[in-house]
C-alpha cells in the first residue's frame, strides 16, 4: 500500500467510494419515482478516478469535475443534501434550483464545480483558472476531469497547447470509460494510447488503471507534487468503465453498442467491492468496520434525501433573478407582458 495511505485514509476512501455509488443509485431511483426531472447521467463504476485523484489534492486546489463526478462532493465533505435539493429543484439546493443535475456549483465553498455541462467545456475554463493561479502567484493548482469522447473537442487540444506554452499548473484527467455514448474510444481517438496526445503537446501523459483507487492515488500524488513545483501541466488517463448506460433513458432505447459479457467482465473489478475486499484481506481493517461505514453512509443518504424533500420550490418570478451581478432596469427582459 502507498506510504501515505494509512488505515484512516484507506477507510475514508472506501466511505467515499461507497457513498458516491449509493448516491448515484439513489438518484436513479428518485428519478424513476419522479422526484428528479430530466435525463440522469450516473457514473456507476467510475468512482475510483475522482476519489483517487481528489485525495491527492489539497482542499484549496481548484477542481472541475465532469458530469459523472459527484464523488467530488463526497471527497470534499460537502453536504450531499445540497446536491439532492438542487436535483429536486429546491431553492435550498447548491444552485438555488437554477442549475439542476450536471450543473452543481460549490466553487466558492469548496473550490470545485460541475457547473458547465458542455462537452469538455470545463477544460478551457480551468486552464484559465490555472493561468490565474500563475498570474497571482498562488500555490494552488487546477485539476480538470473530462471523458474520452470529450478529448476530441478542439478546445481540449488548444488548452493542452496553451497549458504547456505558458507552463500552467494544471492536471488534465481523462476518465476513459471506453465509450462516448455509443461510440467506442478506438473509433473516435486516432492515438494508440490516449496518453500519447499529451506527449504530442510536450508534456507527460500517464496511463493508469481506473478501477484501482490506490494506483490512481499514486499517479495523482506524484503529478500534484510536480505540477505544484512549477514544472508545467500533466495528463493522467484513467482507464475505467461505466456499468450503467450513458444516461438513464438508455434503459428504454434498446441500444446495442456493447455486450452484457463485456459489462460483466468489468464489473468483476468494481472498486466499490474490490477495495474493501483488499482492505479486509490485508488486515488493514475488519469487515465489521466496513459494515459500520456502509451503515453510516446509508444514514447520511437518508438525511440528505429528507433535507431535499423538505425544501421549498422557488418562486416562479425568481426565474428572472441572478442573470446579472451589476443590475440595470429592464434587463433581463421578460418576453411577455
Amino acid at each position: 500500500m502507498h506510504k501515505d495511505l494509512d488505515k484512516k485514509k484507506c477507510m475514508d476512501m472506501f466511505r467515499q467510494l461507497y457513498l458516491t455509488r449509493r448516491y448515484s443509485e439513489t438518484v436513479v431511483e428518485l428519478g424513476d419515482k419522479g422526484f428528479i426531472r430530466g435525463p440522469l447521467h450516473p457514473g456507476i463504476g467510475m468512482e475510483a478516478v475522482c476519489v483517487g485523484v481528489l485525495n491527492a489534492t489539497n482542499d484549496d486546489d481548484y477542481i472541475g469535475v465532469s458530469h459523472r463526478g459527484q464523488a467530488a462532493s463526497v471527497v470534499r465533505n460537502s453536504d450531499i443534501g445540497l446536491l439532492f435539493a438542487e436535483q429536486f429543484g429546491k431553492k435550498q439546493g447548491c444552485n438555488h434550483g437554477k442549475g439542476g443535475t450536471m450543473h452543481f456549483n460549490l466553487f466558492n465553498e469548496k473550490r470545485f464545480f460541475e457547473l458547465d455541462s458542455e462537452v469538455a467545456g470545463k477544460v478551457p475554463i480551468f486552464t484559465g483558472v490555472a493561468l490565474g493561479c500563475k498570474i497571482k502567484g498562488l500555490k494552488q493548482i487546477s485539476v480538470v476531469f473530462y471523458g474520452d469522447g470529450a478529448m476530441s473537442e478542439g478546445w481540449v487540444h488548444e488548452s493542452m497547447n496553451l497549458a504547456k506554452t505558458l507552463e500552467l499548473p494544471i492536471i488534465f484527467v481523462v476518465e476513459n470509460n471506453q465509450y462516448a455514448v455509443t461510440t467506442k474510444v478506438e473509433y473516435s481517438c486516432s492515438a494508440k494510447h490516449l496518453s500519447d496526445r499529451a506527449k504530442a503537446y510536450g508534456f507527460e501523459g500517464i496511463e493508469v488503471d481506473g478501477m484501482d483507487v490506490e494506483k490512481i492515488y499514486e499517479a495523482a500524488k506524484d503529478s500534484v507534487l510536480k505540477v505544484r513545483s512549477g514544472s508545467g501541466p500533466i495528463n493522467i488517463v484513467a482507464n475505467s468503465y461505466r456499468f450503467c448506460g450513458h444516461f438513464t433513458a438508455e434503459r428504454i432505447l434498446n441500444l446495442k453498442y456493447r455486450s452484457n459479457e463485456e459489462i460483466e467482465e468489468w464489473q468483476k473489478r468494481d472498486p466499490v467491492s474490490t477495495w474493501p475486499d483488499r482492505l479486509v484481506r490485508e488486515k488493514i481493517c475488519t469487515s465489521q468496520e466496513i459494515e459500520a461505514i456502509k451503515a453510516a453512509a446509508e444514514q447520511e443518504l437518508v438525511l440528505a434525501v429528507e433535507f431535499a424533500k423538505a425544501g421549498d420550490l422557488p418562486e416562479p418570478q425568481d426565474g428572472l433573478k441572478d442573470m446579472y451581478a451589476t443590475e440595470y432596469a429592464g434587463i433581463p427582459r421578460k418576453g411577455w407582458f
Partner: protein, 321 residues
C-alpha cells in the same frame, strides 16, 4: 482635456484601469502587425504579469477568461477581428453569459471583451467584415458601442468595472474620430443613451459610426425644414428604454440606423420594442436602415450597396415625414 482619437481614448481608459485595479489582467491574442497602430492594446505592463500574449486559440482563450474571473480576476480580452466571436461563440454565449445564472447567482464573471471591428473596406479580408453584436444581444450579453472619443473612454471604464461580461465594440469607421477627452478616469454608465442632437419631427436611433452619419443627415434636413433628433444608443443592452420612450413620445416618428444585418438585428429589437410598448406614440411606420442580409462583398460598389449609409437614412426619413 486633450484631443484624442476614439481608439486612443479607449486605450487610455484601458491602461489606467490596468494600473489602478490590480485584479485586472489583459489577454492579447496574437495580432496582425499591420494593424498595430489601431489596437487599443494595453501598452503599459504594470507589474509584468498581468498582460499575457496568447497563441491563436480564440475559443480557449475566451473561455479561459471565464476561469480567470472565477478566481477573482477581472480579465479584459482584445479580439482582433469579428471572426473571433464566431470561433468562440460557445465560450461567450453558452458559458460566460449563462454561468452566473446557472450557479443561482453565486458566481460572477466580470469580463470585458474589446472588439475592434475590422475593416469593411474592400481592401481587406472579406471574412473579417461582419458586425456580430446582435448575436451577443440575443444571448443576453451586455453590449456597448461608443460613437466618439469621449464616450469610448467612459464606456470602456464602465465596462471593465461592471461585474458581468460586457462586449465593447469600437467601430472601424469611427476609430479615427477625434474629440476632447478629460485626462482623469471617468465612467459613462451603461443603460444611458445620449441625445446628440435635439429635434422634434423624427427620432433617428443610431449606433457607433452611424451617429455621425445621422448628424450629417440631420444638418442637411434642417435646411429642408425637418427637425431631426439624433439618439446615440451607446448602450445596446441594457437599452435606455426611458430615453427611447421620451424621444418617441416627442417626435412620433422613428428611423433606426444600425450596422448589423437587418433580420433579427438590433434594429428589429428597437422596432419591436416600440411596436409593443410605445405604440400609442407612433404616427408613422418605423423604418430600419441596416445591412442587407448578405456578407460584405469585395467590390467597392457592391459593398456600398449593402451597408447602411447617410443617403439611405435620408431616403428613409423622407418616407415617413
Amino acid at each position: 482635456m486633450k484631443e484624442l482619437s476614439l481608439v486612443q481614448a479607449a486605450r487610455e481608459g484601458l491602461n489606467e484601469e490596468l494600473k489602478i485595479d490590480t485584479n485586472t489582467c489583459f489577454l492579447k491574442i496574437e495580432n496582425d502587425l499591420n494593424k498595430k497602430e489601431n489596437r487599443a492594446a494595453g501598452n503599459s505592463d504594470p507589474d509584468g504579469q498581468r498582460i499575457v500574449n496568447m497563441p491563436k486559440s480564440q475559443a480557449t482563450i475566451i473561455s479561459s477568461a471565464t476561469g480567470l474571473a472565477l478566481i477573482g480576476m477581472r480579465p479584459i480580452i482584445e479580439l482582433s477581428n469579428t471572426e473571433d466571436i464566431y470561433l468562440s461563440f460557445s465560450a461567450l454565449l453558452d458559458q460566460a453569459a449563462k454561468l452566473r445564472y446557472m450557479s443561482g447567482g453565486k458566481l460572477q464573471f466580470p469580463i470585458t471583451y474589446l472588439i475592434i471591428e475590422d475593416d469593411e473596406r474592400c481592401d481587406f479580408n472579406v471574412l473579417h467584415s461582419d458586425s456580430p453584436y446582435s448575436f451577443l444581444l440575443h444571448g443576453g450579453m451586455k453590449v456597448v458601442i461608443p460613437s466618439c472619443a469621449y464616450d469610448a473612454k467612459g464606456l470602456l471604464v464602465s465596462a471593465v468595472r461592471d461585474n458581468d461580461p460586457v462586449a465593447v465594440f469600437l467601430p472601424t469607421r469611427a476609430l479615427g474620430e477625434v474629440g476632447e477627452v478629460p485626462e482623469e478616469q471617468y465612467t459613462i454608465p451603461l443603460g444611458k443613451a445620449d441625445i446628440k442632437r435635439h429635434g422634434t419631427d423624427v427620432t433617428v436611433v443610431a449606433t457607433g459610426h452611424l451617429v455621425a452619419a445621422a448628424l450629417s443627415a440631420a444638418e442637411k434636413l434642417e435646411k429642408e425644414g425637418v427637425s431631426v433628433e439624433v439618439f446615440d444608443v451607446r448602450s445596446l443592452l441594457p437599452l435606455d428604454r426611458e430615453a427611447l420612450e421620451k424621444s418617441i413620445a416627442k417626435t412620433g416618428r422613428m428611423v433606426i440606423i444600425d450596422d448589423s444585418p437587418i433580420t433579427c438585428g438590433f434594429g428589429s429589437f428597437v422596432a419591436s420594442t416600440v411596436a409593443e410598448e410605445f405604440f400609442a406614440h407612433l404616427r408613422a411606420p418605423v423604418k430600419i436602415v441596416a445591412r442587407a442580409d448578405v456578407p460584405v462583398p469585395f467590390n467597392r460598389l457592391l459593398e456600398e450597396y449593402v451597408i447602411p449609409s447617410e443617403e439611405k437614412l435620408i431616403l428613409a426619413i423622407k418616407k415617413i415625414i
